[in-house]
Amino acid sequence: MKFVMTLLAAGLITTPAFAALDGAKLYAEKTCNACHGPKGDKPLMPNYPKVAGQNAAYSEQQIKDIKSGARNNGQTAAMKGVLHLVNDEEIKAISEYLSKLK
């Protein structure tokens, strides 16, 4: 038990072997901020969504569907032009980051 606790503590203070993707950095780098606002709460147009605080699973699914063309209604044409910039892993990281914003 003690050994497990030690392991846990060690795990918390050392960095993991693989670096987790930085959702905040990706959000700015992949130009999401341009349309949805630097904090995800001030979209460029009133018919673009506020994405801050959205459930990660929902965001992730919508982004993937817009990228694949499965969802092609509304304002998706504007977003499709930038989605080749992100892969599935990055979409996940961005979605998780958004879910933590207020």
Binding site: T31, N33, A34, C35, L44, M45, P46, N47, Y48, A77, A78, M79, K80, G81, V82, H84, L85
Partner: protein, 254 residues
Amino acid sequence: MKASLLLISLLTAGIAFAAPPAPKSEGIEGKDYKWNAQGGEKSEALNKKGDAKAGEEGYETCGACHLPSGAGRPDGTFPQLAGQHTTVLIKQMADIRAGLRDNPTMYPFAATLTDAQELANVAAYIEKLCIPLDHGHYDSKPGDNMDKNWKAPADTDKRIADGKALYEKECLECHGKNGEGNKEKFYPVIAGQHYKYLLRQMTEIRNGHRRNANPDMVKIIKKYTDDQLISISAYQASLVMPGNMCKPKAGKKK
């Protein structure tokens, strides 16, 4: 026309109330199409003296995608604007705003510019930017610009040589010996633009999807194969954009 009037009224009312859909004017697909017809906002903006200082503020919206440096993205998603002729910048912005060049990603950003004066201001600001030292080269794919270990493909030299031969046959006449374009005639600078952007635009012009294209250009480019366009783009991207290059940062190799 009605659409642009509606757009203007919406813009003056402040776009916070509604997001107008991008208008669609008749372009090259119509039989009465006249390339670069003068009049309207475009001519107004071209005749105004742009205020670069005021343009800096207007450019903030643009910088989110085209970057504050005007470099765009090496993967070609967004073109490099720094070094481009003001006439070309104004024409393309006005065409996108008027629904002559379809670009759903850019349209809402272009629509945030208030009027002809602001178009002129932003173009004047972009004109002041120095030309970034590097851009996307042959076969840069999305993500390559993030990859420090990216290397040009083995056939790059051959591509550039083939592209040069093709370019000098027919493109040179309008776009110039070094790809410098022509400011008075609205022919863009193509030297040193991102490879992927050049390839996409040439393909769209050839296929009739860039509806504000010059019919003379369409006539010429119609017969080129995808493979030839790849070579031409590779060559154009290998040229150096004429003008004021940015200074290399100290301690940073080019």
